[in-house]
Amino acid sequence: MRNLLQITLLLLTILFAPATVAADKLKVYAVNYPLAYFAERIAGGQAEVVFPAPPDIDPAFWMPDAVTVTAYQGADLILINGAGYAKWISRVSLPRLRMVDTSRLFADSYIRVAQTTSHSHGPGGDHSHSGTAFTTWLDPRQAVQQAEAITAALTRKRPAAKQQFESNLESLKSDLLALDERLARGTTSAADRPMVASHPIYQYLARRYGLNLRSVMWEPDEVPSETRWAELAQLLKEHPAKWMLWEAEPASESVERLRSIGVESIVFDPSGNRPVAGDFLSVMLKNAASLEDVYR
Amino acid sequence: MIQIHGLNFTYPGGTFQLQIPSFRVQQGEKLAVIGPSGSGKTTLLNLVSGIVTAEPGEINVAETTVSALSDAERRDFRIRNIGFVFQDFELLDYLNVLDNILHPYRISRALRQDSGVRERAALLAAQMGIGDKLKRRTDALSQGEKQRVAICRALLPGPRLLLADEATGNLDPRNKGRILDLLFEAVDAHGATLLAVTHDHELLPRFDRVVDFAGFQQTAAA
């Protein structure tokens, strides 16, 4: 049994070695910007938080190269979003013991999306590639749970800084809850008003505030084809939306044509990647202000 | 060279008895001893070389009273002063010719194996006409060659007395003569004395003296 203790000690040394050797800072890698933002806020100066995805990419559909994967492997903590976010995680090798699935605690309230094609071949039998909605942080109360998971992980790695982490968490929590309150207040008057989203990424937002939201598959930087317009017209017949939610600034042609059929455009940036200006909170507050226009 | 006085020998527990009141061999003499089997010819050789001892009796060989020496002293005396040529040569099959000739030096500390020994051995072998066969195995040699090796072995330590026990016994007549010539030459060259036991009567005339042993032997009444 003494061996057991030695092994555990050894293992702990191995796991914590990079932290103690690199002296001050924990190395924390995140798979998207919101998690990196939360970690930065909570860790303060205790960690170097890295989110290595290039700025022009949606981290949800990114595939890092081997060098970047190796960088992730060297981290003390790897923050993943869970809910099937960032498929690349399942295609690379990462140290499981240093990975933190930040949404695991509310995994039973994931929203299933089942519109993809199923197929069967080989020994696996019938299967589909349907999955779960993964922009979990758009529900600020879920974001708080994710932040708490990050705090717990940081505390496990560096128990001495527990106080600091917790007070930082409190500050982040109050920001997120204030955002939640503002979003709730802003949408409460007419939450059931029909809305269209350019992509199916607002499921958790819609659930949290009871929004009546349907999605199409439009890219903000391209003008949709006529088929797409026809599909939208079809959708609008049963779902008479007056607003479309875009994840990024849409092409002006699209905005004009939408306006001509009586649909206004607003931007609600999920902030999956690092914003050009401001931070997660400022982007979200801007999103909240946009929503307030819609539901005024 | 050899003086024996009042010797009375009996093998322990045996019935054989040998009495020699007096027996002398001169320095450089070539003496043949004849007699019927069991007359004590071989016993004489054993007594002279100190392989067996007799009580009572005094045996002097080369100014040494052999009968007064201890067991170990007699062995050392033997290897230094007496050369043996056996009836069946008694060469060792696992040694080559040279090793056989050198054998006395390897089996006793009484002989010192200095650097000259090997040269002398080679020289001796050359004189004996087997100089080109030093590395041969002995079982590849003819009878005559074997006999020469045996003589070389006996002569190498430079003995003062050569004892030959039926040394020509198994040879054809032509070889017998030649071997005897070699033996005589070697004895002369080394200034040694030869005491040969034989029953080859045709060879006897070539010896200086012949002693018939029939007279010495007495069978004790049981």
């Binding site: 092994i7 293992l11 191995i14 595939m63 080989g122 | -």
Partner: protein
């Protein structure tokens, strides 16, 4: 003394058949127990050291020995499978960390060990050449495996089909070797390490293929019904994972249901270990938890029981050999009686005769000792392998 040895050496080499026979007898009787001892020591070292550094192993109920042999030494007997959910269960107990293992497949005879990167930390394995696993479809080789297979990083290694007639049609996976480990003098040296997910690719559970909805070749699709496309077996599956096709690799079903062979559990302390074990004893689940040290000690106890029987047999054989040797020397003394007579007449002491005989025995024994050392050296050189083939299958 030199003369005695010279003469004895002449005798020994002249009678070389006899001498070799004697040397062979003596060597055999010495090498047998010594190499057995050596092998057992090595097996004890290999088995015990690894078992003692592995606190707990969780696997399907069944043979505890098969489970431990498969998880620790990558033995060939495949235990019943458990699922990733069982590994999660260990983690979620809050009592231990878990290292899932999937030791099922082979690549050119070497065991393919599906594990997470944590395994390398846990075993203290370091990359000697190349880099660690990063992407799906990569493998890292143990030092000896690399040597045996003649591979270096950058080469490719094909996984072997599980059986000759693999009806499910799982294609061998062409894995890329990205790194070679430093020698660890354990079973890890002989293994091919892949990520768990790569192991599932080998099994065909995780796979990549062209998007079925965009397939136009009618021979590839069996049935295209409402929202469901059934592909024929002709559908090309990628047998190699490349940067171009890695994005098409996907899991089917819930990853929690994915199979593994065992979980190495690393309890946070002794108390937690006891609690965890208690749960499995009391639990209804079809799982067992084992302390590898105890299982291996049981195995070693059996091995040593067999060894003591062998020792007794060897002792008897050894005694009879010694008697035979005494007889041989006695007979040879008798055979050499004439020679002894001769040299005694020449003036050699009986003690010297004993010296020759002693030198002869010494030469035989020295040659045997030398040969024994040589053979033991060979045994020692290969003991790791020998132990694997003899005791760990």
């Amino acid at each position: 003394m030199i003369d005695s040895i010279y003469i004895a050496w002449r005798y020994v080499s002249y009678n070389w058949v006899r001498s070799l026979t004697l040397v062979a007898c003596v060597t055999l009787i010495a090498v047998l127990p010594l190499s057995l001892e050596l092998l057992l020591d090595e097996s004890e070292r290999q088995l015990l050291s690894r078992a003692e550094t592995t606190p707990l192993v969780v696997g399907a109920k069944g043979s505890s020995l098969d489970l431990v042999m498969n998880s620790l030494y990558f033995g060939e007997t495949l235990p019943e499978l458990i699922s990733m959910a069982d590994a999660e269960g260990v983690t979620e107990s809050g009592l231990a960390q878990s290292l899932p293992l999937y030791v099922r497949f082979k690549a050119r005879g070497a065991p393919v060990v599906g594990a997470t990167l944590d395994y390398f930390d846990f075993r203290g394995l370091h990359i000697a050449q190349g880099r660690n696993l990063a992407l799906l479809g990569e493998c890292v080789l143990g030092a000896r495996a690399a040597e045996k297979l003649g591979l270096k990083s950058g080469d490719h290694l094909l996984s072997s089909p599980e059986s000759l007639f693999d009806l499910a049609g799982v294609y061998p996976l062409k894995m890329q070797v990205v790194g070679i480990l430093e020698p660890a003098h354990s079973a890890d040296d002989l293994a091919v390490f892949v990520d768990l997910k790569t192991a599932w690719v080998i099994q065909g559970l995780v796979h990549g293929h062209t998007d079925l909805t965009s397939v136009t070749d009618p021979t590839l699709v069996m049935d295209r019904s409402q929202g469901n496309v059934t592909a024929t077996a002709k559908l090309p599956q990628y047998a190699q994972i490349t940067p171009e096709n890695i994005d098409s690799f996907h899991f089917h079903g819930d990853p929690a249901d994915y199979p593994i062979t065992a979980v190495i559990a690393l309890p946070y302390d002794d108390k937690f270990s006891a609690i965890l074990r208690g749960r499995f004893v009391a639990g209804e689940q079809p799982l067992q938890i084992q302390v590898p040290g105890e299982v291996i000690e049981g195995l070693l106890a059996n091995i040593f029981r067999i060894k003591s029987v062998l020792d007794a047999v060897i002792l008897v054989v050894g005694l009879s050999t010694v008697l035979a040797l005494v007889l041989v020397f006695a007979l040879s003394l008798r055979l050499r009686q004439r020679e002894i007579q001769t040299i005694f007449k020449l003036g050699c002491s009986r003690l010297a005769i004993a010296r020759f005989l002693g030198a002869e025995i010494a030469i035989i024994l020295a040659a045997s000792a030398l040969l024994t050392l040589l053979l033991l050296g060979v045994v020692e050189h290969y003991d790791e392998q020998l132990v694997r083939t003899l005791f760990i299958r």
